[in-house]
Structure formats: structure tokens, C-alpha cells
Symmetry: C2
Subunit: 153 residues, 2 copies
DNA sequence: GTATTACATGCAACAATGTTGCATGTAATG
DNA sequence: CATTACATGCAACATTGTTGCATGTAATAC
């Protein structure tokens, strides 16, 4: 285990997670530790459903998971955002250098394309605001839908 | 009532709407006409719920409304997009010069702020794609949440 | 004007997702 | 080890969206 400094630790031991939870002002319960551990090791944002599935047999109560996730977000340990299909997805806060790609959603067929273009320049933030994530969402009609011309005026 | 030319007609007569529906390849039923009329006159994107409410007593069946809206989108007469609270909102296609403002969502409290900044330059679209709408979504922590520091690492 | 028929509608039932209240369990504290 | 406030699990409910099927009706042909 080299590199005992810096942010991007990958495997985080349970006691350390428990401490993080406690210093955020709550009890270090198995539920919170397990969810936090999952989010810590997940390479991509997880949905409520993903987490339930990942916890397997000994899954938490659905309601408890909702509450754990809400608490994680409220306490600033995690962030939640809607994906392109409007499903909430959760990530560890600060873990985020998601290469902010650009999404194009077709108004005809609903498909989502990931465009490979440079990220737009972030605007100046108002006093006191901190910017963590940036996403450009485009919509219109994709080549397929334009070609088949389904109902275009 | 001057100005008998140009796009931005506001009140559209039912027969005209019926024609538009028929030329999109479907039957001009009361349900479709009423919904299309609503969308035509609405100054802002409407949710499923808005439309049900606006239709009042003689509202359509919930399922029918879903199907009408889906058809409108599939046929290209309308577009649907998720608002910042993940609710589907529908607008007439082509009606759209929504001043594309920029949204900032706070990861702490969930509030959404509308920033007043210039819209980003649209990227080059792939062959055959047409761009209708563009939206920049930012997230992070707002001034309030940063100040009260609820749980920030 | 009437008959035909494919397309639309309404209803019932269901599925997925999210919320609330309350009794019980347990992590933290002394 | 006892206490207790906080967390959990359960049941019930709310909202949003989907599917199958019987019935109604817009468009077309007659």
C-alpha cells in the first residue's frame, strides 16, 4: 500500500468509513457503512436499484436505503443526480472527475447519444457557490429520425 | 387582429389542428385536438399533471393522455423533456426559442438556481443530426450550504 | 346516408418508485 | 451495564407509468 497521502483511495476499510460517518454527525450503522463502502468502490454512479442488487440477499429495507441515501446527500458525503433516463444515481462527493461528456437526446426516438466534444467553459459562479459538476444536454432529432422523417412538419 | 403572416400564431382553430394531426398520419380525435390546442397556447412546457388539470372536469383518461402525448412526441409534433425535478414536460415542436438559461442544482439542499449567464456555444453536430435545444446543467454547493457547512468534508 | 373497419379510447389491473407513521432495535454515552 | 436518542423495518399509502382487452368512433368505401 504505497502513497499514504492524497484523495483517490480505492479500497477503504470499514473503520475508516465509520469515522467518516460519525464525523458527519450520525451513527455508524451497518446500513450506512455498507452503502458508503459500495459507493466508495463503485466506478460509476449507482442507482437505488443497483445498490439493492449489489447488497444481495442481506439487502436493506427499501425505505432504509432511501433514508441512508438521502442522509448521505444531505450530509455532503454523496451527491445524487438524475441520469438521462431520469433515474437517480449516487456518487461519492468529491470523487468526481467524471469526464463530463455531452449528451444528445433525440426527441423522436428518445435515444441518448454521447457526443465527443470538448466540455463547455464553465460560467462564473455567484459568490459563495462552488461548482462540482457540469453537464451539457442537447436535444433535437437524430440522423435516423430525420431520415425516416416520422411526422416532421 | 393584425399580422396575418409568420410563425407565432397563438390561437389556433380546431380544424387547423385537426389537419395537422391528420397530416402526421393519425386520426383527428377530440383527445388529440384538445391536447394539441393546449400545448399550442401554453406559454411554458406542461407536465402530464398540468394537462390533466387544465382539461378540468372532462379530462381524458390518464392512460389516453399518456398515449396522446407519446404519439405527439413520436410524430414530431411535440417534444418532451425532463425538468429540473425530473418531471416530463411537453412543448410544441419548433415553438422553441426558450431563452436557454443555465441551471445550478445544489447537491446539499437540492435547490435549483437559474443563473444569468450567456448560453454556451453549441458543439458541431454529427452528420444528419439537428439541434433543437441546448441546456447547461451545473451542480455543486450553493452559498447557503457552503456557509452552514452541513457535513462538508 | 349508411356500413365497414382499423385505429383510439376507457377501464382494470399491474409495476416501479418514492413517502409517512409507528413500533422495535441498537449505537453511543455515561 | 443502563439509558436514550437515533436508526431500522414493516405496513400502508401516493404517484407515475405500463399493458391487455372490450368498446367506441373517425375515416373510408359503398
Amino acid at each position: 500500500m504505497p502513497d499514504s497521502s492524497s484523495p483517490p483511495l480505492i479500497a477503504t476499510a470499514a473503520p475508516e468509513l465509520a469515522d467518516r460517518i460519525r464525523s458527519a454527525g450520525a451513527r455508524a450503522t451497518p446500513a450506512r457503512i455498507r452503502v458508503l463502502a459500495l459507493l466508495t468502490s463503485a466506478p460509476v454512479p449507482l442507482s437505488h436499484h443497483d445498490i439493492e442488487a449489489a447488497l444481495g440477499d442481506a439487502s436493506l429495507d427499501r425505505v432504509t436505503l432511501y433514508r441512508v441515501l438521502d442522509w448521505l446527500v444531505a450530509s455532503g458525503l454523496a451527491v445524487k443526480r438524475a441520469d438521462e433516463r431520469r433515474v437517480w444515481r449516487f456518487t461519492l462527493a468529491g470523487g468526481g472527475q467524471h469526464h463530463s461528456h455531452i449528451h444528445f437526446r433525440c426527441d423522436g426516438c428518445g435515444r441518448v447519444y454521447c457526443l465527443d466534444a470538448p466540455a463547455p467553459v464553465p460560467p462564473v459562479m455567484p459568490q459563495g457557490f462552488t461548482l462540482a459538476h457540469l453537464e451539457l444536454d442537447l436535444s433535437g432529432r437524430c440522423a435516423d429520425c430525420n431520415r425516416s422523417g416520422s411526422g416532421v412538419r
